[in-house]
C-alpha cells in the first residue's frame, strides 16, 4: 500500500513538472513570436502549412521617364509576359490619382483574369511625387502574372497571392527599375486558413451578403468597411475555387468602368461610393448598416456552413474543401457538399439518434464526383461511429452485467 501511494505522488509530481515546463515553453514562444497583425492587413489566422515555391512572371506599371517615353505604362517586366496580360495590365491598373486614399501609406490591390486564362494580381502604392511635377503622387503597381496551375496552388485565392507577393518584398518600389526583371518566386502554402474577422457585426453581414451575390453571379460593391483588403479576403474565404476564379476585384482602387471588375471593395461611406460607382450595374452593400434582403437565398446553406466552419476554428478544413470545388458551384451542388461535410464533422461525436439524422445525407443522389466522394467518407465515418457506439454499448452492458453479478454475489454472501 505504501508503494502505491509513493507511486501516485511521484506521478503527480511528474505531471506538475510537465505542466510547468509547458507553461514556460508557451510563455517563451509568445515572447519570441511576432504579434499577430490585427485588422491592418489581410494576414491569415492559421499558421502556414507545407510550402511550394512557384515561379511567376512579373511586371511593374508606373510612370517614370525613360529613353522610351514617359507616362503610365509597363516600365519593367520579366521575359515571358504574355501579350494579352500586357494589354490587360495597361488597361486595368490604376494610374494618376486612382488610389482611393491620398494618404502616403495608401495601398490598392487588384485581381483580374487576362483572356488567355492568365491571372494578374496587382499591388499598388504611392512612390513619391509624380515626375512631371503636376501635383499628386506617382502610383506604383507591381503585378504578378500567374498561370492557371500556379493560381490553383494558391487555392485561386487572390488575397493569398497578394500575401505571398508582400512576403517576397517585390511590391516595394525600388530606387531604380531595370527594364528586364527576373521571374518572381512566390511561396504557396497549403492548408492556409481564413482571414481574421474584424469590424462590426454589420460588416460581417455585408461580407456574407457579398459572397452570396458573387456566388449568384452578380457584380457587387462593398463600401463602408474598416479595411478593404481584409474584407475582400474574407469574402474570398467563403467562396469555393470555382467561384473565386470568376471574381475580378479591386480594393482601395477607384472604380473605373474600363477595369471591368465584378467585385469592388472600398472603405468610403455609401454616399461617396455610390457617386463613383454610378449606374445600376453593381449591387452596393454598405458594411456600416444592417443588410436588407439583397442576398439571394440560393446559396444560404453553403454560406451558413462556411461561416460556421470559420467560427468554430475549422478554417483549414474549409479552405481544403473550397480548393477542391473547382468545377461545379451551382447552389444545389454546394448545398449538398455543405450538408455532407457538416455531417462528416459531426459524425465522430454523434449519438444514436443523431447518427440516423446524419445518415440522411448519404441517401440523396450525389451531385458530382466530390459530393460522391464526401458521401463515401461520411458512410465510413458513420460506420466507424456506429462501431464505437456499439462497442461502448456492449461494454456498458457487460459492465452492467458484471455489476449486477457482483451485487448478486454480494447479496448472496451477506444473506
Amino acid at each position: 500500500m505504501g508503494d502505491l501511494s509513493a507511486l501516485t505522488a511521484a506521478r503527480q509530481a511528474l505531471r506538475d513538472g510537465l505542466a510547468k515546463a509547458e507553461a514556460a515553453l508557451e510563455a517563451a514562444a509568445a515572447a519570441t513570436s511576432p504579434p499577430r497583425p490585427a485588422c491592418s492587413d489581410a494576414a491569415p489566422i492559421d499558421p502556414p502549412g507545407p510550402a511550394t515555391v512557384v515561379e511567376v512572371e512579373q511586371a511593374v506599371f508606373t510612370s517614370i521617364r525613360s529613353p522610351m517615353g514617359s507616362g503610365y505604362r509597363i516600365v519593367a517586366a520579366s521575359g515571358g509576359l504574355p501579350s494579352e496580360a500586357r494589354r490587360q495590365i495597361t488597361l486595368r491598373c490604376p494610374s494618376h490619382g486612382n488610389l482611393c486614399s491620398s494618404a502616403a501609406e495608401a495601398a490598392g490591390f487588384m485581381s483580374f483574369a487576362a483572356e488567355t486564362g492568365v491571372r494578374c494580381v496587382a499591388l499598388s502604392c504611392f512612390a513619391g511625387r509624380e515626375h512631371t511635377a503636376r501635383g499628386g503622387e506617382r502610383v506604383h503597381t507591381h503585378v504578378a502574372i500567374l498561370t492557371e496551375e500556379a493560381f490553383a496552388l494558391f487555392g485561386c485565392h487572390a488575397a493569398a497571392v497578394a500575401e505571398a507577393i508582400r512576403r517576397s518584398g517585390a511590391e516595394r518600389p525600388a530606387a531604380t527599375t531595370p527594364e528586364r526583371l527576373p521571374r518572381l518566386k512566390l511561396i504557396a502554402t497549403e492548408g492556409r486558413g481564413g482571414h481574421e474577422s474584424c469590424g462590426a457585426a454589420t460588416e460581417r453581414e455585408a461580407i456574407r451578403a457579398a459572397a452570396g451575390l458573387l456566388l449568384a453571379g452578380q457584380a457587387t460593391a462593398l463600401c463602408g468597411i474598416e479595411n478593404a483588403a481584409n474584407a475582400a479576403a474574407r469574402v474570398l474565404d467563403l467562396l469555393p475555387a470555382a467561384a473565386r476564379l470568376r471574381v475580378e476585384l479591386s480594393c482601395g482602387v477607384k472604380f473605373a468602368p474600363q477595369r471591368r471588375l465584378n467585385f469592388v471593395c472600398v472603405e468610403q461611406p455609401r454616399e461617396e461610393a455610390a457617386r463613383t460607382l454610378g449606374g445600376p450595374a453593381m449591387t452596393l452593400l454598405d458594411g456600416s448598416r444592417p443588410q436588407s434582403s439583397a442576398e439571394p437565398a440560393s446559396h444560404d446553406e453553403w454560406l451558413r456552413f462556411a461561416e460556421r466552419s470559420k467560427r468554430e476554428g475549422r478554417q483549414s478544413a474549409l479552405e481544403t474543401l473550397c480548393r477542391r470545388i473547382t468545377e461545379h458551384d451551382a447552389a444545389e451542388v454546394l448545398s449538398q457538399i455543405a450538408a455532407v461535410s457538416e455531417a462528416i464533422h459531426r459524425a465522430p461525436t454523434a449519438d444514436r439518434a443523431a447518427l440516423e439524422e446524419l445518415a440522411a445525407a448519404t441517401r440523396t443522389a450525389a451531385r458530382g464526383a466530390l459530393a460522391r466522394e464526401l458521401q463515401e467518407s461520411l458512410r465510413r465515418a458513420l460506420a466507424r461511429r456506429d462501431g464505437e457506439l456499439t462497442r461502448a454499448e456492449q461494454a456498458a452492458l457487460a459492465a452492467a452485467a458484471a455489476d449486477k453479478a457482483a451485487n448478486d454475489s454480494q447479496s448472496r454472501a451477506s444473506a
Binding site: G69, G71, L91, P94, S95, H96, A133, G135, P257, Q258
Partner: protein, 295 residues
C-alpha cells in the same frame, strides 16, 4: 471618319462614339465609357456633330492646349462665336485657367477614360452667315493614346473616337525634338501610321482627313514659329515623310502657352518643378481654324 446620326433606337440610346445601345438613364456608355450627355444634347440640335480629336504623347501639353483653345473660343477670339453646351464642357478650361492663374500646371490626366474631360461646343464665325458647327473635343490621356497605338484595341474608345473624327490635331513636343530626342518623331510616326492603317480607304490611297501638326512648347525653340514645316523636316523627318506620302491634308503650326518659366525645388521634393510665371498665348487658335476651314 463620319459621325453617326444621333437617333433613338428602340429601348435605348446609342453612344455617339461606339454606337453601343445604352439605357436612357445611363451617364456613361457601358461599352466605351464615353459620356452619354452629348447624345442627349445633340438630339435637340438635329445636326451631324463634328468630332475634332486632340492627340499627343504623355506630357506634351494636350490639356493645357485644349483648355486655352476653348477659353479663346469662348472669349470670341478672332471673331469666333462659341457656346459651351452644358457646364461639363466648361470644366476643362476652368481647370486649366484656374491652375495657370495660380502659376501651376494643371493636374495630369489619368489613363482611366471615365475621368477624361469632354467638351461640346457650338462654334461659328461671328459674322452671322456661317453655319453652326457642333464640336466635340475630349481631353484624352497620352498614355491611353500611346497604348492604343502600340497595341490596337487596348483602348477601344480611342480607336472609336479617331474613326469618327472629322479632323485631328496632332500635338508634338517641339522642345524635345529640338533637343535631339527621337521620341517626338517616333510618336508622330506611330500615330500617323496608326491613323493610316485605320482610315486608308484602299492601299496606296491618301487619307483625306485634315491633320494639323501642332509643335507645342515652341517657346523653347522660337525658330519653329518662323518656318514650322522646315522645323519638322529637320527635326521630325520620319513623321514628315510619312505625312507627305500618306496624308492629303496636313499642315504644321507652332504653338506656345507659357511666356516665362521659373524653376523651383525643395529638399522634400527632390526634383525641379517648373513654375509658369505668366501666360503668353501664341499659335493656339490657328491650327483649329485651319481644321475648321477644312471640314
Amino acid at each position: 471618319m463620319s459621325t453617326s446620326i444621333v437617333n433613338k433606337t428602340a429601348g435605348g440610346v446609342p453612344c455617339l462614339i461606339c454606337d453601343a445601345v445604352n439605357s436612357p438613364k445611363a451617364m456613361a456608355c457601358q461599352e466605351c465609357t464615353a459620356p452619354m450627355q452629348f447624345v442627349h444634347d445633340l438630339m435637340a440640335q438635329e445636326r451631324e456633330p463634328r468630332i475634332v480629336t486632340v492627340m499627343g504623347d504623355s506630357n506634351v501639353g494636350k490639356t493645357i492646349y485644349l483648355g486655352f483653345l476653348l477659353d479663346m473660343l469662348s472669349q470670341r477670339a478672332n471673331d469666333y462665336e462659341a457656346v459651351p453646351k452644358g457646364a461639363y464642357s466648361v470644366d476643362l478650361q476652368h481647370t486649366v485657367i484656374s491652375h495657370m492663374a495660380y502659376r501651376m500646371f494643371p493636374p495630369k490626366t489619368p489613363v482611366e477614360s471615365n475621368e477624361w474631360r469632354w467638351s461640346y461646343y457650338q462654334v461659328r464665325r461671328a459674322e452671322g452667315t456661317s453655319p453652326w458647327v457642333d464640336l466635340i473635343m475630349p481631353d484624352m490621356a497620352g498614355e491611353a493614346i500611346a497604348a492604343e497605338v502600340a497595341s490596337p484595341s487596348t483602348f477601344r474608345i480611342v480607336r472609336n473616337l479617331l474613326q469618327k473624327s472629322a479632323g485631328a490635331l496632332l500635338l508634338i513636343d517641339a522642345a524635345m525634338a529640338s533637343n535631339g530626342s527621337p521620341q517626338p518623331d517616333f510618336f508622330g510616326l506611330k500615330m500617323l501610321s496608326y491613323l493610316e492603317s485605320m482610315l486608308a480607304p484602299k492601299r496606296d490611297a491618301q487619307i483625306d482627313t485634315p491633320v494639323a501638326v501642332v509643335l507645342c512648347k515652341a517657346d523653347y525653340c522660337p525658330e519653329c514659329f518662323d518656318q514650322p514645316r522646315r522645323f519638322v523636316e529637320a527635326n521630325l523627318n520620319r513623321m514628315s515623310n510619312m505625312a507627305r506620302s500618306r496624308f492629303a491634308r496636313v499642315e504644321y503650326f507652332a504653338s506656345s502657352v507659357v511666356g516665362s518659366l521659373a524653376y523651383a525645388t525643395s529638399e522634400e521634393d527632390g526634383f525641379v518643378r517648373p513654375i509658369p510665371l505668366h501666360v503668353s498665348l501664341r499659335g493656339v487658335l490657328e491650327p483649329f481654324e485651319w481644321v475648321i476651314s477644312q471640314l
